[in-house]
């Protein structure tokens, strides 16, 4: 993603293109990133497509408000994440509303219904467990995991799209990974003090 800003500027400065064509060129450049980020945040293809396309539509509508055209992606990312987080909030509210007294006593599902395990390529038990654990992270922690591990963004790039400094990115990533580790520990049924999936031995000794 390092050359993205420059390429966006080139697309915009091309006088042979109409504004719509210039925006289309930028949208085509970023559509896969937008889709995969949305997929990581909301967990299924249908919603990810819908939300990422809606984000491009809103970006197109408000494109004249973007002062520095070279900074398209961080600006667009804010629209996309707000849409995804808002969608997740609505989904939670709908789900809470639909729970009647009979359902209230049931145990919490292993994985949120909307997170489709079929979205994982070359599935196996370990990958399913990791995806399951990611789906159970809270939004801000899931976001940094997706940006770092699935989008391969550097800390510098993450700090730009999240509008924070690198220290905040590092710290958020630390807590996200720590939480992910706890969830995986919990899933595998190995409390942290015992021999777990991390190659730990009782008493905290390394293997």
């Amino acid at each position: 993603m390092s050359g993205v800003c420059q390429e966006d500027m080139i697309a915009l400065c091309d006088s042979r293109r109409s504004p719509r064509e210039a925006f289309e060129a930028i949208a085509r450049r970023h559509m896969k990133d937008a889709y995969f980020i949305a997929l990581g945040l909301v967990g299924n293809q249908e919603d990810a497509l819908e939300l990422s396309q809606e984000a491009f539509y809103r970006a197109y509508k408000h494109y004249d408000q973007l002062v520095s055209k070279g900074k398209f992606f961080p600006w667009f990312y804010q629209i996309l994440r707000n849409l995804c987080f808002s969608h997740l909030r609505k989904r939670r509210i709908r789900r809470a509303d639909s729970l009647d007294d009979e359902d209230a006593g049931r145990p919490e599902p292993q994985m949120p219904d909307s997170f489709d395990p079929g979205m994982i390529a070359e599935r196996n038990e370990a990958k399913d467990r990791v995806w399951n654990a990611i789906s159970r992270l809270d939004e801000k922690h899931r976001e940094v995991i997706i940006l770092r591990h699935f989008q391969n963004m550097s800390y510098e790039e993450m700090s730009k799209v999240l509008f924070c400094n690198k220290g905040t990115v590092t710290s958020r990533l630390f807590y996200a990974r720590q939480r992910l580790k706890e969830i995986l520990d919990h899933q595998s049924g190995s409390p942290s003090a015992e021999t777990g999936m991390w190659g730990r031995q009782e008493g905290g000794q390394t293997q």
Binding site: K32, Y60, I120, H149, T170, R177, R200
Partner: protein
């Protein structure tokens, strides 16, 4: 520096984001701290596991249709705006003409005329009230001031 101070360095070390000096400092700390060494090993394994997970690439037709779907939204929005404005204008004009003809009609009773004017006044008040509410929420739109 305490172990807590090294936690942030640990993430950057794991992701190869440290400069040489920071890397050396952290490795010196690791050599003397079994707890951080163990924690780093756990995080490294977690990173390996997470890096192995990849999303399914959608079919090509999804990408082929992607921009068209975005553009369709833009087009439909323009269509709806034009349709709504024209419909409102025609409705208001038609309503005005209808009321005008009723008011000027000498065969229509005074009570009927007053009732019609009261109905019209109520509609105007309702419209202004809803419009004011809409404007208020629009100015508070969360996407309006998205940072750029």
């Amino acid at each position: 520096m305490t172990c807590q101070d090294h936690k942030d360095l640990m993430m950057a070390y794991l992701d190869d984001e440290l400069n040489q000096e920071q890397r050396r400092t952290f490795e010196e700390h690791l050599a003397s701290c079994p707890d951080c060494t163990r924690e780093l090993k756990e995080f490294r394994k977690l990173k390996q596991m997470t890096d192995c997970v990849a999303f399914v690439e959608p079919e090509d037709r999804i990408w082929d249709q992607y921009w068209n779907n975005v553009y369709n939204r833009v087009e439909r929005c323009t269509g709806w705006v034009l349709f709504s404005v024209a419909a409102i204008a025609l409705f208001v004009y038609g309503g005005f003409k209808l009321i005008e003809s009723v008011i000027q009609d000498p065969t229509v009773g005074l009570l009927m005329k007053i009732g019609l004017l009261a109905l019209l006044g109520g509609l105007v008040i309702l419209f202004v009230s809803v419009l004011r509410e809409r404007v208020y929420f629009w100015t508070k739109d969360r996407y309006k001031d998205v940072r750029r």
